[in-house]
């Protein structure tokens, strides 16, 4: 067999060539068996780089192509399509990842160059064994699942629904709206959050193309691009949605008050039967069985007695629903940082230390204090307020990243305090002010002009141990002022901790369920951080909003629209081409032992009793190759990961040992 392999080594600027001697690898590659031509280029993925490959295929008659560059997860598609354009079957291409797995992982130039050679040789020996494959067409189911009913999920669902696509919008809480529904004003425009959000919630709730599933959680996901089957649990509300009119008399009559830890962040109360907030969508309340007197003690039923349409149903059961969708958008959002983790700031120990979430609820006119800024006693107006930035962000002990929204909402707090308590002293403790956004910097200047104080320094401690008479009875915020060059102790009646944004606590479970990856911090990994932020590594699954990385409302909404547009792009194609990486059984060699039948996790292998042979159902096969590895007759082959291909690659990457001791072979 003699193939004409073209080998292309990428410098990737200096990302690769800074460590790997690209010229040496290229020179060496040109001497390897089957190699017709070896070239190096600054950026192989650029159009000029791709043109090199195309021209060589056409002019030199290359039959195989190897590119040694970055991860195949990044650019395999790019080069496959370049091969296609030149008339070469894209599966006659192989990639060696000499960036992520080599030049970025070591500083040892010699070792990196040697490893690059090995990986390239592995790819060369493998590609020779590869054969042409044709992608398999897959029909796309037209419906979409949007998981998470915050502003991101709502926007994505509305974009799709308005374009005529059917959407299932699934939300865990009893109402859609997410965190945004908790906030008072939005920076920097000072729009009231509820005023801009609730119309969208109502639109989503009433849209004929949106099936709203609140108080529901996805329990299982099966399938692949175009054909996902979703199993969701719709938790019992104990309220019949057909009958409930949303009059809220049940809430009024319910005798059981509990602290509202979720929507009001522990600052207010709600009843055992409740809607998180009056504008909730849908309007139906839920009964919290852990606090409802009937569920705890077996009697009460006040809600049932007073409900005019008789909608209360204590016997309601959870429902298990299945949905068939073609695409999935995850908009599962974030969780605020738990301020208790930084004990020196005293949250939970010092009464008048508040988190920003509590403060949002407090300044909200519909909140527990009706918008009045008061101390924990519920009546005293503070005369001085300290706002501490970067709580849980830009902090090696917690999260190293910047949460991106805290500077701006802290400035917004400062403004709102000045608006409501004009004589209060407001002091911001910040590391840097990050006001990068449309009209953000202007807002910062506006707040400065309003007489808000700014101290540049990370706060060391919040304490109630007074040293002077002025500090008596106050909280003292101690920080090193890096502009002033000295320690400062600022007494304040109230301290607000601007907590950062963290990946939602169960993001890893969600990622596992959908087969995605999470980064170190638990945020979902996008296909490309710059160029493909809403796509994941799993075909058909998209991410939007703060589940990808901390972001404010405008970016979340933009991502939601972007993800929706991507989904629409797939839906309108009706069929897409799927990777032909599938197993198949050579009936001649199959002994009918049935070992593979039970191994297949997708039950994609059936046994023909009459012929005593097994067969792979291509549509169900996901291409894992478990059966291929197990077949004792070697009758199963896994396309693009065949026995010969992998064995050749093993031999290839160990070229040096073989050359050093030929007796081994």
């Amino acid at each position: 067999m003699s193939e004409k392999v073209g080998v292309y080594i990428c410098h990737c600027g200096t990302n690769i060539s800074g460590v790997v001697d690209v010229n040496e690898v290229t020179r060496w590659a040109s001497l390897q068996p089957n190699v017709a031509i070896a070239r190096e280029y600054k950026f192989m993925c650029s159009s000029l780089g791709q043109e090199l490959i195309i021209a060589d295929i056409k002019e030199q008659g290359l039959t195989r192509v190897v590119v040694s560059a970055c991860s195949p997860h990044l650019h395999e598609k790019t080069f496959r399509s370049a091969c296609s354009r030149a008339g070469l079957n894209p599966y006659l291409f192989e990639m060696a990842n000499i960036r992520e797995l080599d030049s970025w992982a070591t500083e040892d130039h010699d070792a990196a160059t040697h490893k690059a050679k090995s990986m390239t040789r592995g790819a060369i020996d493998r590609v020779v064994q590869q054969f042409p494959l044709e992608p398999i067409p897959v029909d796309i189911k037209p419906d979409t699942l949007v998981l998470g009913g915050g502003i991101t999920g709502i926007t994505a669902a509305l974009e799709l629904a308005n374009a005529g696509c059917k959407v299932y919008l699934v939300e865990r809480e009893p109402s859609i709206g997410g965190h945004m529904a908790q906030w008072d004003k939005t920076f920097p425009t000072l729009d009231c959050a509820a005023c801009i959000l609730t119309p969208r919630m109502v639109e989503a709730g009433q849209h004929p193309n949106i099936t709203l599933l609140t108080y529901s959680e996805v329990e299982a996901v099966e399938g692949y691009l175009g054909n996902f089957t979703i199993t969701a649990r719709k938790k019992a509300r104990y309220v019949n949605e057909e009958l409930c009119t949303g009059c809220a008399i049940c809430e009024e009559k319910c005798p059981k008050k509990v602290t509202d830890e979720v929507f009001n962040a522990g600052l207010g109360t709600r009843k055992a039967i409740y809607r998180p907030f009056p504008q909730a969508v849908p309007k139906y309340p839920v009964i919290d069985t852990t606090s409802c007197t009937y569920f705890v003690k077996g009697k009460c039923k006040a809600c049932e007695i007073f409900c005019p349409p008789g909608a209360i149903d204590f016997n309601q059961k959870d429902e298990i629903l299945t949905m068939e969708v073609g695409n999935i958008i995850l908009a599962t959002g974030y969780d605020p940082f738990d301020a208790r983790k930084i004990s020196q700031y005293g949250y939970g120990r010092l009464a008048n230390v508040f988190t920003s979430v509590e403060f949002e609820r407090m300044v909200n006119a519909a909140g527990p204090t009706a918008g009045k800024i008061v101390l924990r006693d519920g009546q005293t107006e503070p005369k001085s307020i300290a706002i501490i930035h970067c709580v849980g962000s830009r902090d090696e002990n917690n999260n190293e990243y910047c949460s991106r929204v805290c500077c701006m909402y802290s400035l917004k707090f400062a403004h709102l305090i000045k608006e409501r308590l004009p004589h209060a002293e407001v002091t911001n403790f910040y590391i840097d002010i990050r006001a990068a956004g449309k009209r953000y910097e202007e807002f910062y200047h506006r707040v400065m002009k309003e007489g808000v104080h700014f101290i540049r320094g990370r706060v060391a401690e919040v304490t109630d141990a007074a040293r002077t008479v002025e500090e008596e009875g106050k909280l003292i915020v101690q920080a090193f002022d890096t502009l002033y060059g000295s320690q400062r102790r600022i007494p304040a009646d109230m301290v607000v901790l601007s907590v950062g944004v963290e990946a939602s606590r169960d993001s890893r479970q969600v990622a596992n369920m959908f087969g995605l990856g999470c980064d170190f911090n638990g945020f979902f990994i996008e296909r490309h951080p710059k160029l493909d932020p809403v796509m994941t590594m799993v075909e058909g699954i998209y991410i939007a909003g703060a589940c990808q990385s901390p972001m404010a409302i405008p970016e979340s909404v933009a991502q939601a629209s972007a993800a929706a547009a991507r989904v629409m792009g797939v839906i309108t194609q009706k069929t897409v081409m799927m990777e032909p990486v599938k197993a198949s059984i050579d009936a001649e060699r199959c002994s009918g032992c049935r070992i593979c039948n039970n191994l297949c996790p997708y039950s994609a292998i059936i046994f023909h009793d009459d012929q005593k042979k097994s067969e792979v159902l291509t549509a169900l096969c996901q291409g894992c190759g478990t059966c291929v590895a197990a077949c004792p007759s070697a009758a199963i082959s896994g396309a693009h990961f065949t026995h010969d291909q992998i064995m050749s690659q093993i031999a290839g990457i160990l070229w040096d040992v073989r050359e050093a001791s030929p007796e081994l072979v």
């Binding site: 997860h73 992520e100 797995l101 990196a112 990856g517 638990g522 590895a629 992998i646």
Partner: protein
């Protein structure tokens, strides 16, 4: 290469978790031993015992099989199949007189770049301790035909000879 011994590890990385963990380790510029030469497979369940033996026979000093955590396999349970094969393989290696530490299995999810990098470092250190793989003479000239204990093992014995 002679003055300081650098072991060679062949790493079978599953496409969904471990390969991505390795990508992440690189993207995060974690520095780890350059001794692991990766081979991408769709699932750790795809790794045939024969491939591991082939790597060892062709000159690798160790083999790392890395997959998703149990219960997190992209293909539901391919990694568990890999785990079962790994247990058998280790028995086989011991019969050959080869240190079982030379073939290791690792679970690294896509977010566990540091875990993968650390495992490669540790394995490299371990292999430096063990020194280069010396196939026992008895295995090389095929004189170690004691009764094999299970059918699976005897099959693999014949396959290693095919490879050689």
């Amino acid at each position: 290469m002679s003055e300081s011994y650098e072991p060679i590890i062949v790493g079978f990385l599953c496409n969904w978790c471990s390969y991505r963990a390795a990508d992440l380790a690189g993207t995060a510029r974690l520095r780890y031993a350059p001794n692991m030469r990766p081979i991408r497979v769709m699932c750790s369940g795809r790794v045939e015992p024969e491939m591991v033996l082939k790597a060892l026979a062709d000159g690798a000093d160790g083999v790392l099989i890395a997959g998703c955590h149990p219960g997190e396999c992209h293909y539901i349970e391919g990694n568990l199949k890999a785990l079962r094969r790994h247990a058998l393989l280790q028995r086989l290696l011991m019969q050959f007189g080869i240190e079982p530490e030379r073939v290791q299995i690792l679970w690294a999810s896509a977010s566990e770049g540091p875990k993968l990098a650390e495992a490669v470092d540790q394995m490299t250190a371990k292999l430096k301790e063990l020194g280069p793989l010396q196939w026992p003479k008895s295995v090389l000239d095929g004189s170690n035909h004691r009764e094999a204990q299970t059918a699976g093992v005897s099959e693999s014995v014949s396959s290693i000879q095919e490879v050689r």
